[in-house]
Amino acid sequence: MGLQGTKRPVSSASIRKPRALSHFGRYPLKITKDQVEYVAHLARLEFSEQEKERFTTQLNDILLYVEKLNEVDTTGVEPETHAIALQNAFRDDIVRESLPHGLSLANAPSESGNCFRVPKILE
C-alpha cells in the first residue's frame, strides 16, 4: 500500500517501505520473541501471547526500517543530544516553598500516614 491518495506505490528512497515488509521471512529477525519478553520486563509491561506475536512483527518492521542508518558513514561524528547547544544552566541554592500540605499526595492512588502506599516487593 502506498501513501493515501496516490495510485503509484511510494517509490522514492525516503518513503519506501522497508524491503522486509514485502519479503518478510527472508530477512533475519532483528528482535525475537524472547527479546520482546526481556524488553517488556525492563519496561514493566506485559503482553498476551497474541500481542507478543504482533509486537515482535511490528518491532521487526520498525527496526528493519531504521537499519537504513547503517548506510550513513558517521565516523568521527559527535552524537547530538541537544537541538541547541547550551551549557551551565544553574539555579542558586535557595530554598523555595514545597507544595502546600496535602497537594503532594492529592493524586496518590493509595496513601497512608502522609506516605504513598505501594504493594510490597515480593522476594
Partner: protein, 477 residues
C-alpha cells in the same frame, strides 16, 4: 591457602546544600513525611530539573581535596530502573562524564602511609525512603530525601585489609566534614558505603570474583562485614567452590552477609545523556576560584599546630578532628597565649563534658574566651589549678564568666601569709595525734596536713604557701 584481600569502596555522601539538587525544596532532615516535596522531586508530569550550582562547587571542592583532575566537560545521564522510591523511574546521575577523576588520599595505618586511589567523583540525586511494614503487605514511600544532592566517590581496589578500608573511610569522612560539604553521619545515612570485596591467592595478579556488600551503617559494621566476607570467601575457595558475583546485605544482628534473595535482575540501566540538562563546562578560573575557598585540611592543620604551637602530635591530631574544634582551640590560644595549657583544658575537661552529654563543640556552653580568661586567672594567681577545676565545671553548667564565678563563690586564692598561718595552726591543733606521729618520723602525713589546711581554707589557700608554711611549722622549728 593464604589469600590476599582486595577491597574497593563506593561512598555516597549527602551534600550540605540548603536546597535539593534540581528543585528548591529544603534538604533539612526530620520533617514530616513528604513535607519537603514539590512537583519536581515527586517526578510529576511536565517538570524539569535545573541544577543547583552549589552542588557543582561542592563536588569540585571534594575533587580538589582528593587531588582529582577536575574535568572541563561534565554531563548528566539517566539511569533507568523501576523502584517505588525513585519517582521518575530514572535517577539523574553522571555516567560517561563525571566531574572529577583520578585522585587519591593518603591513609596512615600503624605509622605507615599508604596511598588509596580515587577513580571518580560524580554528582547524583538521592532517592526517597521506602518504609516496610512487617505486619501487612504494604510499603510506604516518603520522598523528602528524593532529590537531595549526593556525590559518589569511587575508590580504586587499593585496600588490602578491613582495617585499611575503615581507615580510608574515616579519612574520607574527615575530609568531607572539614570541607563542610557533608555532615558525615553514617547512622542517619548522610554518609553511606558499599564495599567491593574479593580475595586472591597470595602472589596472584588477577583479581578474584568480587561481591558487593551493602547495608553497613557504621564504621565498625563496614569492618565487620568485610571481615566476615573474607572468611566466607576463603571458606568457599578452600573447599573448592567458586565465589558468585552478587550483591550481599550485611545483617548487623546476625553478624553475617546475606545474598539479596530477590531475583538478581541483570542490571540494564539503559544510561543515556539526560536531554533535560545541559553540559557543565568548568573553566580553569572556576576551579581556581573554588581552590581559593578551600579550607586548610586536617593533616595540614595538624602539622601547622605542631609547628606553630609546639604541642605534641597527639594533641594536634585530637584538636584538629573537626574544624570547629580546631577553631575553638586557636581562638582560646590567641586570647591567652598558652598553647599547651589550652590544649590540656580543651582535650581534658571540655571534651570530657561534651562527650558525656554527646554535645558538639559548636554547642559548647563554654566559649574560647571563657577558657582563656580562666587560664589567665590561674596564671596571675587569682585561683589555683585545683579551684580552676571547680570553676570550669560551674562555667560549663552556667555559661558564666570565670571571674564572676570566682567572685560569687569567693574562690579567690588566699595568698595572705597570716591567714594561712592561722589555718595551719588550726590544723595542727585539731590533729594532735597525727602531729605527734609526723614529728616521730611518719613523713607521709605531710599530705594529710595539706588536705586539712585546704579543707579549712575551702581549697583557696595558695598551695605553694601552704607547703612552705607546713614544712616550717610541722617540724616545730
Amino acid at each position: 591457602m593464604a589469600y590476599e584481600t582486595v577491597i574497593g569502596l563506593e561512598v555516597h555522601a549527602q551534600l550540605l546544600t540548603a536546597s535539593k539538587i534540581f528543585c528548591g525544596c529544603s534538604t533539612r532532615f526530620g520533617a514530616g513525611p513528604n513535607e519537603h516535596t514539590c512537583q519536581i522531586c515527586l517526578g510529576m508530569p511536565g517538570v524539569l530539573p535545573v541544577l543547583n550550582r552549589k552542588v557543582v562547587e561542592f563536588t569540585i571542592r571534594m575533587g580538589l581535596a582528593t587531588h582529582c583532575t577536575i574535568n572541563a566537560y561534565g554531563n548528566f545521564a539517566r539511569k533507568n530502573y523501576f523502584y517505588p522510591d525513585l519517582p521518575k523511574g530514572y535517577q539523574i546521575s553522571q555516567y560517561a562524564h563525571p566531574l572529577a577523576e583520578r585522585g587519591h588520599i593518603d591513609i596512615l595505618l600503624d605509622g605507615e602511609k599508604k596511598r588509596i586511589g580515587i577513580t571518580r567523583i560524580h554528582m547524583e540525586e538521592d532517592a526517597g525512603k521506602l518504609i516496610h511494614d512487617e505486619r501487612n503487605p504494604w510499603s510506604y514511600v516518603d520522598f523528602n530525601r528524593s532529590g537531595v544532592p549526593l556525590i559518589e566517590i569511587v575508590s580504586e581496589p587499593d585496600m588490602r585489609s578491613p582495617e585499611e578500608a575503615a581507615e580510608y573511610l574515616r579519612r574520607l569522612r574527615d575530609i568531607l566534614v572539614y570541607l563542610e560539604i557533608c555532615d558525615g553521619n553514617m547512622e542517619e545515612g548522610s554518609f553511606r558505603c558499599d564495599a567491593n570485596v574479593s580475595i586472591r591467592p597470595k602472589g596472584q595478579e588477577a583479581f578474584g570474583t568480587r561481591t558487593e556488600l551493602k547495608n553497613m551503617n557504621s564504621f565498625r559494621n563496614v569492618q565487620r562485614a568485610i571481615e566476615y566476607e573474607i572468611r566466607r570467601q576463603s571458606y568457599i575457595l578452600d573447599s573448592g567452590g567458586e565465589v558468585v558475583q552478587e550483591t550481599r546485605l550485611w545483617d548487623d544482628a546476625q553478624g553475617q552477609t546475606h545474598s539479596m534473595r530477590s531475583k538478581e535482575e541483570a542490571h540494564d540501566y539503559r544510561y543515556f545523556p539526560d536531554p533535560d540538562l545541559v553540559p557543565i563546562l568548568i573553566s580553569p578560573e572556576w576551579v581556581e576560584e573554588v581552590r581559593r575557598t578551600l579550607p586548610e585540611l586536617q593533616l595540614e592543620k595538624q602539622d601547622r599546630f605542631v609547628g606553630q604551637y609546639g604541642i605534641p602530635v597527639y594533641d594536634a591530631s585530637v584538636l584538629t578532628t573537626t574544624r570547629a574544634l580546631a577553631d575553638f582551640y586557636e581562638e582560646a590560644v590567641k586570647l591567652c597565649g598558652q598553647p599547651k595549657i589550652v590544649s590540656n583544658w580543651v582535650m581534658g575537661d571540655l571534651l570530657r563534658y561534651l562527650n558525656e552529654q554527646k554535645r558538639e563543640i559548636k554547642d559548647s556552653p563554654v566559649s574560647p574566651a571563657h577558657v582563656a580568661e580562666m587560664i589567665n586567672l590561674i596564671e596571675n594567681g587569682t585561683i589555683s589549678g585545683k579551684i580552676a577545676k571547680e570553676v570550669f565545671e560551674e562555667m560549663y553548667r552556667s555559661s558564666k564568666k570565670p571571674a564572676d564565678i570566682v567572685r560569687e563563690k569567693g574562690l579567690t586564692q588566699i595568698t595572705d601569709e597570716g591567714a594561712v598561718v592561722k589555718a595551719v595552726e588550726e590544723a595542727m591543733a585539731k590533729n594532735p595525734a597525727q602531729l605527734a606521729e609526723y614529728r616521730a618520723g611518719k613523713e607521709k602525713l605531710f599530705a594529710f596536713f595539706v588536705g586539712q589546711v585546704m579543707k579549712i581554707t575551702r581549697g583557696k589557700a595558695n598551695p605553694q604557701l601552704v607547703n612552705d608554711l607546713l614544712k616550717k611549722m610541722l617540724t616545730g622549728s
